[in-house]
Amino acid sequence: MTMAPARPASIPAAAPAHPSAPRPPRWTDAHVTVAMRSKRHRRRLVNGLMVGLVTLAALLAVLPLIVILGHLVALGGRSVQWHFFTSLPRPVGEVGGGMANAIVGTLILVGLASAIGLPVGIGAGLYLAEHAGTWLATVTRFLSDVLNGLPSIVMGIFAWQFLVRPLGHFSTWAGSVALAAMMIPQVARTTEEIVRTVPVSLREAALALGYARWRTSLSIVLRTASAGIVTGALVAIARIAGETAPLLFTAFGNQFWSTSLNQPIAALPLQIFTYAVSPYDDWHAQAWAGALVLIGLILLISLIARLATRHRFAGPGGD
């Protein structure tokens, strides 16, 4: 890329400036040769082309989302009726039936996973923010990121080996542990980033007033950061709510009503998977309906998370 075109021959090379010497002629359009003009044209053309391509890329990237959501609404909307939320799955051939057990199952699994994962994640995040320089913080931060990128199926077989195999049966516990293991690193990292935005002056003010360090951390720093932490937690919850792979060999799924923590339990993503790969049209329709409900649930959680973030920026929490 040449940004300054070479000086054409018609312009004399800069002479050592003498006060009385005539000034070299200034650049005018007269000096722009045909070759330069065509080059300038080409550069403008390339510029316009690339701007067009980049805009096209943005359009293309949004397209799949619109197409997928459109299909979900078109194909799933028909089957999402009241009984979908209230009745149990029916055998093939019977009309109706719903996913009440799977919806409740997902709520139980996600609730239990949050109960395990959120305290650990937030605690680890507080450590990362308050002891930023220590080797444990560096190691934990790096391993959180690595753990965050681990495939969800690996979490699934881990939980199977850790809980299902020794106990001898699938259970809600095992599914929740697998989901919690996915939450912890994500929540830890977002908590760390939010807590770091709390001004040091707030912490110093609290300490100067005689607050103990632990009370400063919990009732001043954590409270100031709470909106952001809630957002981070909701984002993590939205992510695990749609996970299937960690549940395949842990929660396992259940066609019947069960809320026991020691029994296999149904989950919305598992049910969608089972129905989608089945050969029956009735079940395919149910799968689309389930997917629509699942997406609705996840978008709802994401929306609440976004609203919570807006609050954070409205407040004086930033630095």
């Binding site: 990128g149 199926i153 689309w288």
Partner: protein
């Protein structure tokens, strides 16, 4: 909202703050206060440290559990477990080569499709987009990451695969005469490596684009202004001054996307056809490590089969560990040199 909660303890004294300060002032303030809060501080510090240690411990536990479960298969087949392509549960011979091959090919295909698009979006959003549409477009692209894998799989089975089988594959093979290349030869199966690659590309697009966007936004303004002042067009500014500055961060984002693609399970399981074979054609079914585990784990025929699947899981674990480690390191490098705005 937050300001009142912050100021309340300071202004009113609060029930918890007043008494200790006044009583301690009477009897030698410092010693009393330090001993009084030391227990709380110690408990708090220990608790938070314990939570932090949970993360490395968890990773270690995962590694040990899966490695020990996969050990019998590794011991039985040795290194040939990774190179042999004989995966036959009935005969009891297990080689993970088809799954490793499928994982790599489908992920690379996804990267090939997603990277130009993701970079285009990132450049559009950081350089060209009008303020009014910047946020909405970024939100919509990021929303792709919120769609669960199983929903991608469902959409893939009923929408993407039929489209690929009837117009797309014959078009590539016959109309464009690409059938001579092994990649595009053979009968057009619906569930195939191509289907898996396309769905993976859509799934990793938001990851690559959001990291690239943040890295591009972290490039200092002066970098752009200098190039524009020299007479560069906007595209020349981007390609000559902005992208080189952000290069390693963008590469980090791409590798992060690769990490996602390597481990993606449900959508791939539903679309790749699940056949343990190595075929040069993208139109043929295949297997990935993740889909192999998802598909066969609950029906494993014996201890050796189970152990072989665990060994596949451990291989996947190690590969993603390395890929993610490299990616994070690259992104960190950039955010550190650019003043910590990205990442």
């Amino acid at each position: 909202m937050t300001s009142t909660t912050i100021e309340r303890p300071g202004r009113t004294g609060g029930p918890g703050t007043g008494p200790p300060a006044s009583t301690s002032a009477r009897r030698g303030r410092f010693r009393v206060r330090i001993t009084g809060s030391a227990i709380g501080d110690r408990v708090y510090g220990a608790a938070v440290t314990a939570f932090a240690i949970c993360v490395p411990l968890l990773l270690l536990l995962i590694a040990i559990e899966i490695a020990s479960a996969g050990w019998p298969a590794f011991r039985r087949f040795g290194f040939s477990f990774l190179t042999s392509s004989a995966w036959d549960p009935v005969k009891g011979t297990f080689g993970a080569a088809p799954a490793i091959y499928g994982t790599l090919v489908s992920s690379l295909l996804a990267l090939l499709l997603a990277t130009p698009l993701a970079l285009g979006v990132a450049v559009f959003l950081s350089e060209f987009a009008p303020r009014a549409i910047r946020q909405p477009v970024a939100f919509l692209v990021d929303l792709l990451a919120a769609i669960p894998s199983v929903v991608y799989g469902l959409w893939g089975i009923f929408v993407l695969v039929p489209v690929l089988r009837s117009p797309v594959m014959p078009f590539l093979r016959d109309t464009l005469h690409l059938g001579g290349i092994p990649l595009f030869s053979g009968p057009a199966y619906g569930p195939s490596m191509l289907a898996a690659g396309v769905i993976l590309a859509i799934m990793i697009l938001p990851y690559i684009s959001s990291v690239s966007r943040e890295v591009l936004l972290a490039v200092p303004r002066s970098q752009r202004e200098a190039a524009l002042a020299l007479g560069a067009t906007r595209w020349e500014t981007i390609s000559g001054a902005v992208i080189p500055f952000a290069k390693s961060g963008i590469i980090g984002g791409i590798i992060l996307g690769l990490g996602r693609a390597l481990g993606e399970t449900m959508a791939v399981t539903m679309l790749i056809g699940n056949r343990p074979q190595i075929s040069a054609s993208l139109f043929a079914p295949g297997y990935t490590m993740a889909s192999l585990i998802a598909n066969e784990f609950s029906e494993a025929s014996g201890d050796l089969h189970l152990s072989a699947l665990m060994a596949v899981g451990f291989t996947l674990f190690v590969i993603t560990l390395i890929v993610n480690g490299i990616a994070r390191w690259l992104v960190w490098q950039v955010s550190r040199s650019a003043g910590g705005r990205a990442g």
